[in-house]
């Protein structure tokens, strides 16, 4: 039977890795991800998790060791954050192009400089071209559920891509909350043993990581793009199967009071919970506002997103990272690209905030709706604003 336990998001992730009977963990400590590797180390030390923990000397080697481990067919997990994700950046592309089903939890945080170990999405957004499946959990329950699902999705023969489970550094990784922890019996056959179809094996030699001259490189790239875009169905199927078994439903795009909404806030991550409070307050005042949470970031659920905002005249994006010198932040760029040219496309305004661990209150989200309305009403030519900054 599932028991209700209180734990940090980090510990919840570790429990999912334990329940998955993971074979190899290769990881390097970095704030705010450290509690995941500490908890996993304890589990290995106590024999609760029968995995080999490779205590690598860097994140670059962490992801590299994951490549090797996944390539022989072992169930493989790692976790990191911020600078660590950047250090493994180069290796991330290999994991996806070699179709290795690695699962990684990322306790998202700001990037240097200046040095800042607190939460934002700079690290996550910097990896959006790496070919991984990327999705976000907003609390301990979600990151537990989504980590468990990540193994099933990554290892599915119709997928075979690595999966990043994002959670906001500190706001999720370090906050103690109650969540339902199923036992092995309840897990049942939800997560079958890994069966990687093309392992490195002397009994059937294969060459993995060949180089591609111009004559084939484009074909490789297109094949990978087609493959990752065709994972939508499996991701949703796994989440639906999870819902049937455990009663908690995840969707690529999730909505809150959007049906007749004229202004829709679009955002990612745990701050959605604050945004939801603001939406409820504004609704109680008769304002037609709603919230769209992007859960699945890569591959981007284009149709579901368009569907979710179709009633809106105004779309307001809130995001926790910047694109220096760009036109808008990375989430808004995706949103604009998704909505450009569709019939009756909404007006779009981007707000950047919550950087490097700075909080956002429901009041600030309310203010953000008001400011957006002002910009739209006055027809101001402003693409984005950075909010909550002392000037």
């Amino acid at each position: 039977m599932a028991k209700r336990v209180g734990a940090e998001g980090s510990f919840a992730v570790a429990e999912a890795v334990r329940l998955a009977d993971t074979d190899v963990v290769a990881a390097y400590p970095i704030t705010p991800q450290t509690h995941i590797v500490e908890r996993l180390s304890e589990m290995v030390a106590d024999g609760e998790l029968k995995a080999n923990f490779i205590y690598v000397e860097s994140e670059h080697s962490a992801m590299s060791a994951c490549l090797g481990s996944a390539a022989v067919g072992a169930r493989t997990f790692t976790s990191t954050a911020g600078q660590g994700l950047e250090l493994m950046h180069e290796v991330l592309y290999l994991a996806s192009s070699m179709r290795l089903p690695i699962v990684m939890a990322v306790a998202d945080r700001a990037l240097s400089g200046p040095l800042n170990v607190w939460g934002d999405h700079s690290d996550a957004m910097a990896t959006r071209e790496c070919g991984w499946i990327q999705y976000f959990g907003e609390n301990a329950q979600e990151v537990f559920d989504l980590t468990l699902c990540a193994f099933k999705i990554a290892e599915h023969h119709d997928v075979l891509f690595p999966v990043m489970v994002h959670m906001d550094g500190f706001h999720v990784s370090h906050v103690v909350e109650p969540y339902l922890l199923p036992d092995k019996e309840e897990l049942g056959d939800f997560l079958p043993p890994i069966d990687y179809p093309y392992p490195l094996d002397p009994n059937k030699p294969i060459t993995m990581g060949a180089f591609a001259p111009p004559a084939v490189y484009s074909e490789c790239r297109k094949a990978q793009d087609v493959a990752v875009n065709s994972t939508h169905g499996t991701i949703e199927n796994v989440w639906n199967e999870f819902a049937k078994r455990f009663g908690r439903q995840y969707k690529p795009i999730e909505t809150h009071k959007t049906e007749d909404a004229e202004t829709i806030l679009v955002s990612i991550g745990s701050f959605n919970q604050m945004a939801g409070v603001a939406v409820d307050k504004l609704r109680s005042e008769g304002k037609k506002v709603g919230l769209v949470r992007i859960r699945l970031w890569r591959p981007f659920p284009l149709q579901a997103f368009r569907q979710a905002v179709k009633s809106a005249k105004n779309v307001v994006v809130f995001e926790r990272s910047m694109t220096y010198g760009g036109t808008v932040g990375p989430v808004c760029a995706e949103v604009k690209s998704a909505l450009y040219g569709i019939k009756d496309a909404p007006r779009i305004m981007d707000f950047i905030g919550g950087l490097g661990g700075r909080d956002m209150s429901p009041k600030q989200f309310e203010a953000l709706f008001k400011r957006a309305q002002e910009i739209f009403d006055k027809n101001l030519d402003i693409q984005y604003e950075t909010i909550g900054v002392r000037e």
Binding site: D23, V24, A26, K50, A51, N52, I54, Y55, V56, E57, S58, H60, S61, A62, S64, A65, C66, L67, G68, S69, A70, A71, V72, G73, A74, T76, E90, V91, L94, M98, P193, P199, L200, D201, P202, N203, K204, P205, I206, T207, M208, G209, A210, F211, A212, P213, V216, C220
Partner: protein, 309 residues
């Protein structure tokens, strides 16, 4: 095992690195790699760093590898091999994976070993993975067009340590990579060349049998990068050993041994004169290098209580 027996066995061993590769004519490295594979046998998994041997063997959709082989990046090969070894080990404990014992081998050139991949190699050696790391040392970044590495010897001209009005070429001393590996207290280290195939095969076999990390350093002449005729790779290996430039030895659990002791070192000029990269050096500089080589050989000799040739 007698030398003839070993040679016969090597000859009879199937080819694991197949013909049709794209290495330069006269490449010493590819000879060495074929010998290493033969000595290892088929129950292996190879992680290969980016570099000459990777690029000449794997242009998609062709391959020269008749063993499972993975290439990822330039600097992470030892870490990839760590994952391969740990993954196999974890699966074996749970009754999965290949049924036979599999030897995990990481291969890289001197650039990926001495320079960019030194950290990941150090980590893998320190963690004690049961694997063999083979460094094919051709003393520079040859694949990218003959640039200097920290393995390039003093005085050698390369495209980034060119001889010029104010430079004699490479102005730094070659890093002592086997000693760096040894500083990790690993159970086995050996130096080999493709001109000494029975010695190489014996050392590879030893590396395979000893549990824990092994580091094998293979001298690998590069006709293209060193500016030599295409038929002298073997001669250069012999000269490198006989002049004391590249002593053949091993270290088993901390005990050093010279596997080919040279009582009367040949003059360094015999080795250098075959190579365009040293052609510009004055007699004074060559004498200086000669003195350094002799001094280094004396240090190596003094460490080796055992001389096995």
């Amino acid at each position: 095992m007698s030398t003839l027996n070993t040679l016969q066995k090597l000859k009879d061993a199937g080819e694991l690195f197949m013909p049709g590769h794209r290495a330069c004519i006269g490449c010493g490295e590819v000879l060495a790699m074929r010998q290493v594979c033969k000595a290892l046998g088929k129950d292996i998994i190879i992680a290969n760093a980016t570099g000459c041997m990777e690029i000449i063997s794997s242009p998609f959709p062709t391959t020269n590898w008749n063993v499972p082989w993975i290439h990822a990046l330039f600097e992470n090969t030892a870490a990839v091999a760590s994952g391969v070894e740990s993954g196999l080990d974890a699966m074996r404990r749970k009754g999965r994976g290949p049924s036979q014992d599999v030897t995990v081998v990481a291969m890289g050139g001197d650039g990926s070993t001495f320079d960019i991949g030194l950290q990941s190699l150090s980590g893998a050696l320190e963690r004690g993975h049961n694997f063999i790391y083979v460094c094919f040392d051709n003393e520079g970044y040859m694949n990218t067009g003959i640039q200097r590495s920290s393995a390039t010897p003093y005085g050698a001209s390369t495209t980034t340590s060119p001889v010029g009005k104010n430079s004699i070429g490479q102005t730094t001393q070659k890093k002592d990579m086997p000693l760096i590996a040894l500083a990790h207290h690993i159970p086995y280290i050996a130096t080999c060349t493709p001109a000494h195939p029975t010695d190489l095969a014996k050392k590879i076999k030893k590396a395979k049998e000893i549990k824990g990390p092994a580091y094998i350093h293979v001298f690998s002449p590069c006709p293209t990068g060193w500016g030599t005729d295409s038929d002298v790779a073997i001669e250069l290996c012999r000269l490198a050993v006989d002049t004391g430039v590249f002593p053949l030895g091993e270290c088993v659990h901390g005990t050093y041994a010279l596997t080919k002791h040279i009582k009367d070192l040949k003059p360094i000029r015999d080795y250098m004169k075959l190579q365009r990269r040293f052609r510009h050096l004055s007699d004074d500089v060559i004498d200086q290098i000669q003195a350094q080589v002799r001094a280094h050989y004396a240090v190596v000799r003094s460490k080796c209580g055992v001389v096995t040739n």
